[in-house]
Symmetry: C2
Subunit: 235 residues, 2 copies
DNA sequence: TTATTTTTCTAGCGGTCGCTACAGAAATGA
DNA sequence: TCATTTCTGTAGCGACCGCTAGAAAAATAA
């Protein structure tokens, strides 16, 4: 079915797996040995399989994606999945981690790189319009949707924490601008940050509901008009 | 377990059920007879049971709410559920219909009663802040969340259609104001309507993530500042 | 080669899913 | 009383769920 893919010794190490004997081991018995691990080598590329799992979870969510769906998408057997990634939940956590680094980092980048809070929000909304409608992967944001209606409270809470952390990051960036005099002192930073979060989440839902990139960009542009133009906004 | 609740002949008629011998029948054999239907009477109140199902679906979504969860919440046996409501999907459709009439009608009411599009949107967002955080029922909007990550495409599409229809309703109301000269002619009605939809959906998500009514009202107030103050907004 | 280690495939575990056959219970009509 | 109609509880259907035991396969080490 899927014979031999591994040609070299390059083996990625998982980030989030924590179960017993989970995740790919690297460097078998010898101390600093670069030799192969020891037993039968894996027949699939761990990172490739992880990416396939990511796309499946992104499209259908945590609960609606069965282990059977996953093994089909990753083209491996169930025991291989459990040996390499722990269990379904560990795999999902690792997927979320990879998603955050590969697809969901544009807000962090904007916050770090743009000189003002307003600039960071504007760039974030604009890039969200692009990212959420990009061809080649599911629409919208995995963090917003993948744990909706989830029967496992820890999974639901995990993504909720990420969403609220993003809003908190916007809030502290806005506070910094207020402290620096870039934004007027009367501004409600928490509400402004929450408004930004609501826009992002709403745009993600709109993307899932069929909105085009251009339509989302128009929404983003409208949303940006809430920002004070001459420093007289008082929340 | 649940002996005899029906004391009279008052029996509500379902709206959406369509399966074979589904939904409560009314008026048994005789033409205009007001007598009881004929066989053994139902031991539960259909509307009460439907309301319990509504709350269960609202909280956990279509797929994560099992028939077992439903029969427990409604305090009836599975055969009674199937006899009275058809199947799980028919029950859900009826729940959505009742939800729309009882909890989700504030936008329609605002659109019908407020003299301007802006007034309708403002009232809708304000009432959403209240409705989405009201004690006594789950948070957020059933139409927004209950079919997320749903494996039954028809169910997912059904709620998606409702969401997009709401946006279309806002759009036509905005167009009407543009035509009447209440809003400036350069406005992008579609984008403005989509922005409103994104705000509603984002606020619903925020409510699910723990935002208070006051926090959502602050978000709504900020969102309203996009509207032209003196008729010079050009989209 | 032989022993050891690790991954692979096959098969299937106990549990839940949506749903229903069946028999008994509770009403009406004769 | 007895037949008819409808609902209710029990019990269980086939399918799928997440997950794993066990043996064979494929590598290294001796």
């Amino acid at each position: 079915m899927h014979p031999m893919v591994n040609d070299g010794a390059a083996e990625g190490q998982g980030a989030g797996a924590a179960g017993p004997r989970a995740a790919g081991n690297e460097g078998g018995g010898t101390v600093g040995g670069r030799g192969r691990p020891r037993g039968r080598p894996r027949s699939f590329d761990r990172e490739t399989a992880l990416e396939k799992a990511l796309l499946a979870f992104w499209e259908h969510g945590y609960e609606a994606t069965s282990v059977s769906d996953l093994t089909r998408a990753m083209d491996i057997g169930a025991p291989s999945l459990y040996a390499a990634f722990g269990d379904k939940r560990s795999l999902f956590e690792e997927v979320v981690s990879v998603y955050g680094a590969r697809y969901g980092s544009f807000a962090d980048r904007a916050l770090a790189e743009e000189p003002t809070a307003r600039g960071a929000v504007e760039r974030t909304l604009r890039e969200a319009a692009t990212a959420y409608t990009e061809p080649g992967h599911p629409r919208g944001c995995l963090v917003v949707h993948a744990a909706a209606n989830c029967s496992t409270p820890e999974v639901e809470q995990s993504l909720r924490d990420r969403r609220n952390a993003d809003i908190a990051a916007f809030e502290s960036r806005i506070r910094a601008d207020v402290a620096a005099g870039v934004l007027p002192p009367g501004i409600d930073a928490a509400a402004l940050a929450r408004h930004t979060g609501a826009m992002i989440q709403g745009m993600s839902q709109q993307a899932r509901d069929g909105a085009s990139r251009e339509e989302l960009e128009a929404v983003a542009e409208i949303a940006m008009s809430i920002w004070p133009r001459t420093g007289t906004h008082t929340g």
